[in-house]
Amino acid sequence: MEKKVVIYEKYQQGDVVMLKVDDDYFKEHTNSSYNSVVEYHGKQPTHAIMAFGEVTGHTHQVNMANMLKGAGVTLHMGYNQKAGEDVPQGFVVQNETVTITHEEHDPLELPPGKYLVKIVQEFNHITRRAQNVAD
């Protein structure tokens, strides 16, 4: 059976890769009865955090207060994961473009759509282990 070709657009801010995928692929990789969904809305004093730097304390986040009123971000958290502490499996940007900021990277604009989140990996040849890049 021929595999379905996965087509996605990649947005990257440092060690965080956000893949803009179609509805089916997004559903396949985020949908579980154990998952939780957290919603954020524009012009509200909250932050949608995509990744939290364990080493530096820096965050990849959307400051919702600075977004347009109609903008919305919905984080899809995996089993036993908490928004603001863990990396979401994916998120949905609704209605308006949002901007992700980080202390050491330029802002990144994301158009509305469904995104999966990945942390890039590296191989530590000294300890001989593959690991996620620690920011």
């Binding site: 330029d106 000294i126 593959a130």
Partner: protein, 363 residues
Amino acid sequence: MLQTETSKTRKEMFDNHLANKASKYLINKQLEWLIEQGNIRESIYFKGETGDRYTIYIASKRNNNIIDFTTVQNSYHHGTELANTIATLRGYILTMHGSGYSWNPGYGLGNTFKQLMRQGVMSKKHSWKIKYCRSAFMIKLEDGTEFTPFKGMQIDLKKGTLLNKPIRSSVKAYIEAKATDKIQRKRNRIANKNNTEALQRYRDAGGDTSQARQWNAQPGEGIENINWDMIPIDNVFKHRNATLRSNILEHYGMDALLKTLKYDTVDIDFIDGREYKLLNVEIPDNSTGQSDSYKGLYLEMLNPSTGESHFEGVANVGTWNSPREATVKEALAWRDGDRTTQGLSNYENRDSKTVYVVPVKLT
């Protein structure tokens, strides 16, 4: 009714021998009985020891002086099968012919000889030892003779001596294995010394090495009181413990470490105007004793926002779940997990040059 000896069956005589008489020359009493008292076409058999349970060894008396040793597979086989001839006994002289392992006659013969030893086919008073060392078996007799077993070797089971000269391939295998062993032992000695000294230095500097030995050890534990001036950067290669190596690496940083190492640039690529380099770095190996150094791939790239250069390790080509070739694009695809996202294993899509998806935007 009292049985006279002449009316006893051969089986009873055999059992009586095993129960009452100590063997004189061999550890295996059954075999000694067959040599001393067995009739032509009588045979004994025994199963292999632990790890060799599926082999049945059969010794059959061909004539008054010769016993043939063969093996068959112990399986649910309902037909007949041809046995493998492994050795011949002329009196107490054992001649090795081969083994049941046709894929590697050298290894198989040594292994078969070892299995016979484990079953007591060995001199009772002049025993010998066998070991597998650096890809070759080595037999050490009581008189100090040491050699790699070979096809046609003759051992006197009474005296525990080798009766013929080892053949050329046996001598070569023995010499090579000994030379490899010597080099490896030296490496291990140096590696052990490096590791011991590095551990001592780490403790003297105020570090806690005990936490790093726990099964759930995490980098960053036990470093609160370390005086890093007492731990040179090259100690990262001397520790055998990965957590301790991580701690030192975390302190000095990969960029500082790489500046001390030799490397080749294996690929340069420009993606959206950004320069990426793939480096093959020679990393000293002072702790494992396996080699003097090994290679590791690193991506050198610029942070597009700050312009700073930094390095990230990439799995070496040919290892599990690694890039398929040493190119910048393959390394970036591995880093970003593009292959996984596209549902491709390492063995699929071999014809395509790369699966790297260039970011729409990268900051």
